[in-house]
Symmetry: D3
Subunit: 243 residues, 6 copies
């Protein structure tokens, strides 16, 4: 029997599938799957600015994130029943937004808001990294559509931004943790990078055991490898998109 429950090598991504154009009404959409994790990403373009940009010619790109109640192994209560998005949800939403803005030019976008909704249909670990990876595809499709219809520059969103999780599980550095691995990991990293081989975010947390500088270096190396593969999958999916 192998190292990981699903037989993957330590530095191997789960099966990644990016399906563009899955919705009829959204300006851009993409269903992203990292193994059994499935997130529906929908990009909506609106001709309005957030209040803090009034009086400028800039636009804004933001993300929202939620899980269906039975995305998980056991059912969770809807956040609306608790009256507000939880801290984890808000943290992920802000991460998605920052990641997308790292490749978007707000001046070229003009006085518009693009919101990318990332709704998790099924959750098996890595929902935030799958969300960022799929949200980029939905965003890029939406921009191409308005590039065609509203004359904005197709360079508004640069290639590309993607994210992956890495972690130390039983002392071994592993790429793209599934839920079971994630819940037993000693150290858990989320890495977001752009097409220029630069970092947008590095978030590393010792869940059980503080980690050394050497461990940190090893995990980041793995993350860069995985993100390179995600860039290729994104490009291939965009090639299949209608617009």
């Amino acid at each position: 029997m192998g190292l990981r429950s699903d037989g993957r090598a330590a530095d191997e991504l789960r099966h990644v599938r990016l399906t563009p154009d899955v919705l009829d009404f959204a300006e851009g959409s993409c269903l992203v799957e990292f193994g059994r994790t499935r997130v529906l990403c929908a990009a909506s373009v609106e001709d309005r600015q957030p209040p803090f940009l009034r009086g400028t010619q800039s636009g804004w790109v933001t993300g929202e994130y939620a899980m269906l109640p039975r995305a998980t192994h056991t059912r969770s209560q809807r956040e609306v029943e608790r009256g507000r998005p939880g801290g984890r949800t808000q943290e992920i939403q802000r991460l998605i937004g920052r990641s997308l803005r790292a490749v978007a030019d707000m001046e070229l976008l003009g006085p518009r808001t693009i919101t990318v909704d990332c709704d998790v249909l099924q959750a098996d670990g890595g929902t935030r990294t799958a969300s960022i990876t799929g949200a980029y595809v939905a965003l890029q499709i939406a921009v191409r559509k308005i590039a065609a219809t509203k004359g904005i520059s197709p360079a508004t969103v640069r290639p590309a931004v993607a994210a992956v999780s890495v972690g130390m599980v039983r002392g071994v550095a592993m790429l793209d943790l599934c839920y079971e691995e994630d819940s037993t990991a000693e150290v858990d990293f989320n890495v977001v990078m752009t097409g220029t081989d630069s970092f947008v975010e590095v978030q590393g947390t010792a869940e059980r055991e503080p980690f050394s500088q050497a461990g940190l270096d090893e995990l980041l190396r793995l993350g860069r490898k995985g993100i390179g593969e995600l860039f290729a999958a994104q490009e291939e999916a965009l090639g299949r998109a209608a617009t």
Copy 2:
């Protein structure tokens, strides 16, 4: 050019598709499509009773309903951002719950709760009737699964319950309104029926023009026709389900 924007006859359903077993973790699941309306139904079985049944051996079946923000033609704000489910959401949730309980035997179910989550991925009219129709399939699959593993009676949920909308549009009684028809209808009915040709719910509202007894009779006749066809589609889908 025909009577309806999509070329259907007045008494014709949209293309109906029921896909069972679309989720890996939920005890029962079904993706239901009425034309472009798409609802993901997930049935979760929990070994707990709601507070008002404590001390009895009865179970409970309930429904929850929500729309993804970009299910609709233009994006809507998430309900969680407003701090509570709107009145419309609560009304639909209660309708789904009542409809499912009309075919479920709470004594046979035993001290368990089954929650069927109906999450609208795309909305083009008839989301509540599609939800009820798909929720029945998810519920029946979940009951079969626990019938096998926990020894409850497979008769716990009787065949069948389904729902459809009917309405007066420009003076003509029509079956299964799409969004565009619904928004211009003079009268709007939702009809829920069981496999014994009986009504569970009849909700008729004059949106523009009060309606006569004769109009009401004509609309209910159409509704019964459509629901008969939905029963057949449910049965066929259950035949394809794994359990």
Copy 3:
């Protein structure tokens, strides 16, 4: 001993009393009593439009509904303590509003909002139907007052709209259920009609037993009879009103 706990015939309304002009400050008011059910209806006219009518010359008519905590046999918690109106409250509010708008001409009303507050002082079944019946009287009085002072047309609200409950109790179709009957009914209908013998709303729910087409027909017949008697009571009350 008779069929019903209070000795009424199956097709007999409870004692109905409509007392106009019970408040000093409201533009229109009416205390409505269906037996021991007592609702204070107050119509308020404001020179403002709801946001969705800005830029038009139309007005709006809406209803609000609440129960005092000790309206019922045992005390209920105030909704404000739970932080929001419950689903049942919102459902009833929307029904009252739709019913009143079915007889009101929004163009003749002009850029005004009339809110009819229906506050249940005592609840013994049928609070929503009593509310609609009394709210019409309060609304009509308010319109007459502003017809006199602000020169709007007295035809702004057409005669009349009223509502009654009907239900199957132990297999018998009964008119105007009191709380005890309502809580044991197999089927529960609320019927709202206008003075032109047309339906505004038909809401029928099988609480215990799905119902047949024949049962539905019988219940609607009873409802039409009761509503006819309510129209007479409304007209008589309006004759007694000051304006």
Copy 4:
């Protein structure tokens, strides 16, 4: 023309009316009117203790307060729509509760809670003092009822507690201010006293002009006079009550 808009003398109460037994279901009830101010007081007895008394044999008496939206000259939004009771509402509720507890013996009451709901049907100044005055009557009736049925001591609530407002209006000390007087008063006092000529609460606020010791003395003298008259009215009303 006299000193006050309604022709009263400076030391004269408005017309006071206390109508006991106005509700069918509440254990005790009283409609209190101070001129056009009208408050419906309903006392509910429940066989439960608040959490902080668990494990003792003591009971609790508390009050709740609300205004109907059109109690006032212009309509106010319902507090439930804002999601919580306002600061003013909570302040008044706590005052009513403290006032009632000043004459109630929690040991004699035993492990029960009595909640007196004070719902303002019409507001023309003095709603909190009218509430306390009427709440005492509703509470006393409820105690008599459970004295008869549950064998608690009729001495559980001692005679009596009542309240009145006094204020400086254009330099003159006046008793029982109506809304118009209250809104122009320089100083506004609420005084709550028991049947033993003692104070439960003295709340005096300079709305426009700080006040001297002499002014304070004069206002309290007026308040004691008015409260003496309210005690007589309460006793007379209790003589008319059914129990």
Copy 5:
């Protein structure tokens, strides 16, 4: 052993310390200590008016109040976790605001808002009276600062406003109750006065035993004595302030 747990005479204040200028960014600030009670008062000047003053040249002065969770002997939950300020908090905030406005001239202030935040770092009784006493110092410092920089009149805030608690403890009238005394007092008064020997607020509550006119007179006498001493401490602190 003496009368009071900390050895004070019945008419003696706790050790009072007013430290001005404790914050770097606030326009005015003062740390006030009444014994172990410690409140940080910060006055913020903003060039905006509250909505109800729009269109006038008037300003507004208001207060906010909160306790740190471990200000008290045992930890309390943060109010934000309960979703709203409690009734007690709102009552105190309104008292602070009214007290400060009694010595502030809104016309001289001009179209500005000054908010004085009173945050209780440690609570040992008398937090509201300490807040008012310290808030006056912070407010006066802020006004001097804007008198210098924005040319408003230094007479905008008149000397002075201060507050103290008094109460009956085991039958003895005492000045400036600490927490232990306050929690066993029969009667609890808060007195707010201005430099002109006039009352702004008198709030007296019988916690256990109604009080007589004579008791009231004695308590107010004590309060006036204590407030005189607080005026001196305020003046001395203002002398030490930088501006």
Copy 6:
């Protein structure tokens, strides 16, 4: 003129001051100052477990965080007025809790909860890192106190945990950013480390410009240097603490 507005070298901390035992009631307390940033840390020990530990012998350590409204250069609205802690607050609270738990042994603590409240009195950048650094001191003092009184092991909290911010400002890596530097930084890192030279958290965000592996390495090196100095300051403060 130097590189930084306050004349510091790029790798120099602001003036750090840790004052233990500043509160009378909290089991442990520490006022921490990083330059003008000032945070009051209070550790409260309670003999209760969070729900998810019921039935075990484990304890829990958690943190809460808030800012006074005038901690900042301009006044901010209290979070309680918005009805809930913002996303940023929740994110910081969870970071403080995780950091403290990295050095606490939940088994040795036993069935208790220690909450460390970090309330920011003044904010000039680095409030979350100052909070963690001061919270450790308050926690350690509280543990020593209960070690003495309740017989738990003094080894319950291991030395030590501290945090610091680092960032790229105009292309230069700098240690311990003040507000002005933080708001113009291209890259912003928060680093949390334990006394064993291991990382608990690394959170790096590109605010303006994605960053390279080399930049990341340089920033972490600076962070380790600063944290070493903070460990020394913590140890010195604990030496001065009463217990």
